[in-house]
């Protein structure tokens, strides 16, 4: 079974993940306050694609409209949106991005509900469950985050939303192997087959979109 790491964010994280996974997607983080220079961005994406093959753009923004521009103008990348702002997440799902990473990030609630789950399932937008933020959290934050993640998993499971487990590593020390990411999934309530599918079946079908 082919194992896929959908989100690593640095050169050294990519190198290590390549040893443990069959496919690795390199993610470029994009914190946007306003419309980016599309030409420049396209150029950068082209470079990264040359270097790493499979590329994702992770948009971190408070402005929903920017997502549409990216969706329309930048091709051959997976488009991820970081969770946290519900308006942005809803818009991103409606626009049909490829994934929402961590709907609960930066929030005091799960940042996801049955309405969003139903919509995500319909639009084929995946939810990414990242390990990285857990590694950096205090005990209190970890317990809270795990609680929210388990809640989001229940919704994702119930409504059949595409999903993946990922390290979302910012550096090589945050990379974790497939079995370790599976253990996260199981801690959230997945059964082993679901955890495996979150590292293989669902990621592979997202990768199909890059062809």
């Amino acid at each position: 079974m082919k194992m896929v790491e959908m989100d690593v964010r640095s050169e050294d994280a990519y190198e290590l993940a390549r040893k443990w996974f069959d496919e690795v997607v390199f993610t470029m983080e994009l914190s946007l306050k306003e419309e980016p220079d599309i030409g420049e961005l396209k150029e950068r994406v082209r470079e990264l694609r040359g270097e790493y093959g499979k590329i994702a753009l992770l948009v971190i923004t408070e402005r929903p409209s920017l997502i549409k521009t990216l969706r329309q103008r930048i091709g051959k990348v997976l488009l991820y949106v970081q969770g946290g702002n519900l308006r942005v997440v809803r818009y991103a799902i409606e626009t049909g991005v490829d994934a929402i990473i961590g709907p609960w990030l930066g929030r005091r609630d799960p940042g996801f509900d049955h309405v969003l789950a139903r919509l995500a399932a319909k639009k084929g937008v995946a939810v990414g469950f990242p390990m990285g933020p857990l590694l950096r959290a205090s005990p209190y934050e970890r317990a809270t985050m795990l609680k929210f993640m388990a809640r989001v998993w229940r919704l994702v499971d119930k409504y059949g939303v595409p999903r993946f487990l990922t390290s979302s590593a910012g550096n090589r020390w945050e990379v974790r192997g497939p079995r370790e990411l599976m253990s996260l999934g199981i801690a959230l309530g997945m059964d082993p087959a679901q955890a495996k599918a979150s590292l293989s079946f669902y990621p592979l079908s997202l990768l199909e979109r890059l062809k």
Partner: protein, 120 residues
């Protein structure tokens, strides 16, 4: 503030229980102390993952009567009770946390176990 997620339909909601408790201490505790006390006890005894599963949530504490309410997941009442039972002190103040009763709603909990302490 920002938007919040919608309230889930009943079948998808977490099933909770409410626990009434009393603190018997050398000195009275403040509301915020009790909040921390519960979290620390849960993190120590149940760990980060066990706490995520048991979902303890501080609801209220009456400093006068030293009684309060904590919520948790329906299936983890005994684990939370055990975590509370193992508490021995807070900031050097010796104390006992005694649970008074458990109920599925705050209203019934107050009526059955807290009315004698002046709750309404």
């Amino acid at each position: 503030m920002r938007e919040k997620p919608k309230t889930l339909p009943p079948t998808l909601r977490d099933k909770h229980r409410y626990i009434a408790f009393q603190i018997i201490g050398e000195r009275p505790l403040k509301r915020n102390d009790v909040k921390r006390l519960i979290w620390e006890a849960s993190l120590r005894v149940l760990g980060e993952l066990g706490t995520a599963e048991a979902k303890p949530w501080f609801i209220d504490f009456d400093e006068e009567s030293q009684t309060g309410i904590v919520r948790c997941d329906r299936n983890h009442v005994e684990r939370i009770r055990f975590a509370l039972a193992l508490i021995t002190e807070f900031n050097g103040t010796r104390l006992i946390v005694r649970t008074l009763g458990v109920s599925g709603t705050i209203r019934r909990l107050k009526r059955k176990f807290l009315s004698e302490f002046g709750w309404r």
